[in-house]
């Protein structure tokens, strides 16, 4: 039975098929880890999208601001009205970075668009599961998507025996990439005793079988108010929790350090996901072992920034330029010249 993998994006614009790069990354890394079977026979990747809700909102908002700014108001107008018009004129455009990122986060967190987004995501998930007739699914969420899916699973909680939520079961893997759940929490309240989004092999508790919390130490979104699962009692002493930190040099293009594509190129993260997807029994560790990860890392590091610097360092060492005397010699030569 094929398993559905849902990809859930973060803040900003996401066109249809937005997940293609990330998926390609995932498949490539999986291959690097020695999983060379047919991906499509085993999985059904589905891109979830909620970004259009924000885009439509900002589109309408900006066109109103534009019309307001164009309103022919005489100079002697009431000062309060004048202030509103001036405010409208200073409205950031829809491609402004604030709108593209933080704007979506603010809309999600403090307005009625939040429930609308959660409803859309769950609606899409159940439609796909119904369409494919499969109860087996996993979720790879990124950035704002981590907060969205956290809230969705909190509401569609399946482990609560006797409730009406028991319909589709838990996702096998919940991969929270660059998790901003804590960053976007107003306080620790909703991460407290009532939180059910944690891994559990127990049928009656937890909202997933395996919880992967992946973060990069140089990714500000993932590090500021980092979601450290072990802070919370629900995560303590449970099986199925994987808190994975990338190495500082684990980046191929520094501009993409926060991107899902970059994260899924990191062997340890993809290995944890694949092991979760492919362990048909929950207690089984999965097919990828440490040796395979080590092997994949060697190849991966050749492409990273850290890898290229290491290569340079080796060149320096080769020419014996790493001693202070060598550099003093060079400086001496330049000085004479």
């Amino acid at each position: 039975m094929a398993q559905v993998i849902f990809f859930l994006h973060g803040a900003g614009k996401h066109e249809e098929g937005w997940h293609k790069d990330a998926l390609e990354s995932f498949i490539e890394t999986r291959l690097l880890l020695g999983r060379d079977d047919d991906f499509n026979a085993r999985y059904i990747p589905i891109a979830l999208s909620y970004g259009d809700i924000f885009e439509e909102y900002w589109g309408e908002h900006n066109s109103r601001a534009k019309a307001l700014a164009n309103l022919p108001i005489p100079g002697n107008a009431n000062s309060f009205i004048r202030k509103i018009i001036d405010f409208a004129k200073s409205n950031p455009s829809d491609d402004h970075p604030w709108i593209a990122t933080q704007g979506d986060v603010v809309l999600y967190l403090i307005t009625s668009l939040g429930p609308a987004v959660r409803n859309r995501v769950w609606d899409d998930i159940i439609k796909v599961l119904e369409e494919h007739n499969t109860p087996m699914f996993s979720i790879i969420a990124h950035s704002l998507g981590t907060r969205v899916i956290h809230d969705v699973l909190q509401r569609s909680f399946t482990g609560d025996v006797g409730s009406n939520y028991e319909l589709f079961g838990k996702p096998k893997v919940l991969a929270q990439i660059a998790n901003i759940t804590r960053l976007t929490s107003f306080n620790e309240g909703h991460l407290g005793p009532g939180m059910v989004v944690h891994p559990s092999y127990d049928p009656d508790t937890g909202a997933c079988w395996r919880y992967i919390n992946a973060w990069h130490p140089l990714d500000p979104s993932a590090v500021i108010r980092r979601f450290n699962p072990l802070r919370y009692p629900a995560f303590q002493g449970v099986q199925g929790l994987f808190d994975i930190s990338a190495k500082p040099g684990d980046v191929i293009n520094i501009k993409e350090i926060h991107s899902l594509t970059n994260y899924l190129k990191i062997p340890e993260i993809t290995a944890a996901i694949v092991n979760g997807l492919e362990n048909y029994t929950t207690l089984h560790p999965g097919p990828i072992d440490e040796a395979a990860i080590e092997q994949a890392r060697e190849k991966y590091e050749q492409k990273t920034i850290a890898g290229s610097w290491t290569e340079r360092l080796e060149q320096i060492e080769q020419f014996d330029l790493n001693s202070i005397d060598s550099w003093l010699d060079i400086i001496g030569v330049i000085d004479k010249w």
Partner: protein, 410 residues
């Protein structure tokens, strides 16, 4: 599920396992031919896409839970296919068994053939009926499969991953045989029972999505602070002094969400059936009958101080062509607000105050403006941007000055 042999895995060892499993399936198919109801295409359909819900639904129609009807051949074969499929999947995913996998799979296939010969269908039917009547929506049944499979497969792997056939291993196979059929039946039973509920759940969320879309698109636009206020107001958990916080733009919703998310039991937020209008700037047009030249229609700035809109959802909504609202004479969402209106009037003061009525995303204002040159004070009628666009589409020259203003607006 039985497509495993078609999936073209490159590893030869995997192919061997699949071949063995496929052999088991074909054996089952051979014996199944003794059943009149069995048709080979059922296996094909199942192989192409496991239409679990569909064919099990049909199977259960043949053997309703409350009537003592025996299981049909189709049902037997379906379950047998399921079972073999599960075993196949299990071994497909257990790559760490490497060389021992073929051996285990072969033995498993042998045992399954043996099991097929002596399985007691009548007892299994009773088992289903008992489970069905005891707990028709039993969450435990569903998960039993997962936990049983865990314990079974782990023990199996430990006990049987040597080439020496031990008594423990034989016993374990027997256990697998007994438990797996139970687990599979429970799983299938759960699916069949869940299916109508799944359909209901999908319908419910389709409706909720349509309602959310209508809430955000078919009504007057909400600014950030309005969305924030309304989000906070809709949160029924907010009481006491915290509720006052809802009226502090942008802050209240923070309090609301933090409070709401504390309990999973809070479930899904309801789709609102009312909303507040709050500090809402709007652009519109007003009719100035005292204007000397032809341009009686003038752009105006409308500021809504506070107001409210109400509506009722149509609970019987099932598809987009259905009405999403359920209101008397279809007049909803509707509402009213207190407004100030500013426009460049010819003989009256630019700023006036009054009220507005709302229908969906249309607004009609009625504001009173003092006379500027000693005439009498006057009430003026205006419309908001959406309605003025609707009225202005090629109707008459009066609307021309507004066209440039509204370019690029919705």
């Amino acid at each position: 599920m039985v497509t495993v042999s078609k999936q073209g895995c490159s590893k030869s060892i995997v192919n061997i396992v699949f071949a063995i499993v496929a052999l088991a399936v074909s054996n089952s198919a051979f014996s199944a031919n003794e059943c009149n109801e069995f048709e080979p295409k059922d296996f094909e359909t199942n192989a192409e896409m496991p239409q679990k819900f569909n064919y099990l639904d049909q199977a259960f129609k043949l053997a309703p839970g409350n009537s003592p009807v025996g299981l049909s051949c189709k049902m037997k074969n379906s379950f047998w296919t399921e079972l073999v499929g599960i075993v196949a999947e299990e071994y497909r995913f257990s790559d760490d068994l490497t060389g021992k996998r073929t051996f285990i799979a072969q033995r498993m296939a042998d045992r399954l053939r043996e099991w097929q010969a002596d399985v007691d269908y009548e007892n299994l039917r009773l088992l289903i009926e008992t489970a069905n009547s005891a707990d028709p929506f039993g969450s435990n049944q569903k998960w039993m499969v997962g936990s049983l499979m865990d314990s079974i497969m782990n023990t199996l792997i430990q006990e049987c991953s040597t080439n020496t056939i031990s008594n423990e291993c034989n016993n374990e196979y027997r256990l697998v045989r007994d438990r797996m059929i139970f687990a599979t039946f429970m799983n299938n039973l759960g699916d069949v029972q869940r299916h109508p509920l799944v359909v209901e759940e999908v319908k419910k969320f389709n409706k909720r999505s349509a309602q959310w879309d209508a809430y955000l698109d078919n009504q007057q636009f909400q600014y950030l602070w309005e969305l924030s206020l309304n989000y906070c107001r809709d949160n029924k958990n907010i009481t006491g002094w915290k509720y006052v916080g809802c009226y502090v733009p942008l802050v209240g919703a923070g309090i609301a969400q933090a409070d709401y998310d504390k309990k999973s039991a809070n479930g899904w937020e309801r789709v609102p059936t009312s909303r507040f209008i709050y500090l809402h700037p709007e652009i519109g047009a007003v009719y100035d009958k005292y204007e000397a030249d032809d341009w009686h229609i003038k752009p105006s700035f409308i500021f809504e101080w506070i107001g409210v809109m109400n509506w009722k959802w149509n609970d019987s909504w099932t598809e987009p062509s259905d009405k999403i609202y359920s209101c008397k004479w279809d007049i909803c969402p509707w509402g009213f607000s207190l407004v100030s209106q500013y426009a460049n009037f010819s003989q009256h003061k630019d700023l006036g105050h009054g009220a507005a009525i709302h229908f969906r995303n249309y607004t009609i204002t009625y504001t009173r403006h003092d006379s500027e040159f000693g005439g009498k004070d006057e009430w003026f009628v205006g419309v908001n941007i959406s309605l003025s666009k609707l009225l202005g589409e090629g109707r008459n020259n009066n609307w021309k000055p507004l066209q440039s203003l509204f370019i690029g607006t919705n």
